[in-house]
């Protein structure tokens, strides 16, 4: 039982590491229109990509401070919300990362097929 639990924990950690790299790509891809934190989580979940709030909110701020997103507070709704939207620099980086992702996916597919996984 203990071994099974350890294996499950190990899998979860590795799976988390695997997904960590593509979280940025997933977030940037869904910010063509302004989104606030929770709406982006919803939007990603609807498309099959689940992400923790504790991971996404700091990531949005980091992308903004790196100049790939713009943000503004909107006070018109039921409560003030901070909206994020991709900007020109973000679009450029998204295009580059998307290209990298396609190449990587193809390579990985070949590697896994060769090994019959």
């Amino acid at each position: 039982m203990i071994i099974q639990a350890t294996e499950q924990e190990g899998y979860e950690k590795l799976s988390q590491e695997l997904r960590r790299g593509v979280v940025i790509l997933a977030a940037l891809s869904q910010l063509q229109t302004p989104q606030y934190g929770y709406s982006l989580i919803d939007r990603l979940a609807e498309r099959g990509f689940n992400i923790d709030q504790g991971t996404l909110y700091p990531l949005l701020r980091r992308l903004e401070s790196q100049g790939f997103l713009d943000s503004m507070w909107n006070v018109e709704g039921s409560r003030p919300r901070r909206y994020y939207v991709i900007n020109e620099a973000g679009r450029t980086i998204l295009a580059q990362l998307s290209h990298d992702w396609q190449s990587l996916a193809e390579v990985m597919q070949r590697l896994l097929n060769d090994e019959g996984v």
Binding site: Y36, G37, D52, G54, P58
Partner: protein, 335 residues
Amino acid sequence: MDLIERYLGAVSNYLPAKQRNDILAELRSSIYDSLERNDQALDDQAAVVAALQALGEPAKVAAAYGNNRQYLISPALFPQFRSVVLLVFSIMIATQLGLALLGSLGNQRLNIINTIWGVIGNLPATFGLIVAIFWGLQQLEVDTEFEPKKPFDPRKLPAITPASEKVGRGSQLFGIAAQVILLGWLMQFQAEGGFRWFSGQGFFENPVISQYFALVVVASIVNIVVDLVVLWRGVWQTSTRIASLAASGLSIIVLFLLIQGHSAWLVNAGYPNSLIELSKLGTMIRENNMAIGMSAFYYGLTFTAFFVIVDAGYTAYKLYQERSRAQQNEVVATA
């Protein structure tokens, strides 16, 4: 509602002041969104607990907003830090035990527990002092996270240097340890208005140290920082030699002022500078005779000044050699 504010309060404890309010406002708004999305009321405690658990532990959430530099001493500096701590602690323990044994020779009374307690009691403050010095040094060296880093160029690695040009790790560490201990003593002097020894027995107030206190502390800190930078670089270069020479120059000025001050005090008090007083050192220290203390300081400082001058002379000579060699190379290259 109360639970949400308590959660935000806990997160705010770990956030940098500059961004605190903005991050908290965004988190608050997101928590309300999460509850609203699931049709849960703010007074439904189980729902609020679940929403906050989904967000994560306050410290971890706040850390995710940080810049990943949540340490006092960087991994790059840690080996030097560890060496300095070990050396300083060893010297302190050995010196204090030695002094305690010396003090007990006359009166045959040595309280082991008090002695050990006296030694251990000084270690935390010394440790804090070393941490503060390394932290200060690290602040001088850190670069900003988003500053583009230049690619590593192996051609810019320093040339292989002969063993004589490599910094002697042992002597450098010994110098740092001695300066840290001096700083520790100065802090004690500042706190108590004088020096104590033998498990708190005996008290000696030195008016000359009081007069030049700030200057001695500054010179000591400058020397520690320069020694650490030299130790960190690991190789003697023109820049490290110049820095070392400048620090020695400052030490010589301060030592000269202190020696002059002690000499003047001894002359005024009617004690000529002679070794006779030193022969009665043990007895007179126990009697708290100020003249012997001042005399011991006078000779100690003179002895130190002699070594600092010799060391500075050697550094100046090596610097001169280096410059001459560089000029010769330039002449050859031009020809």
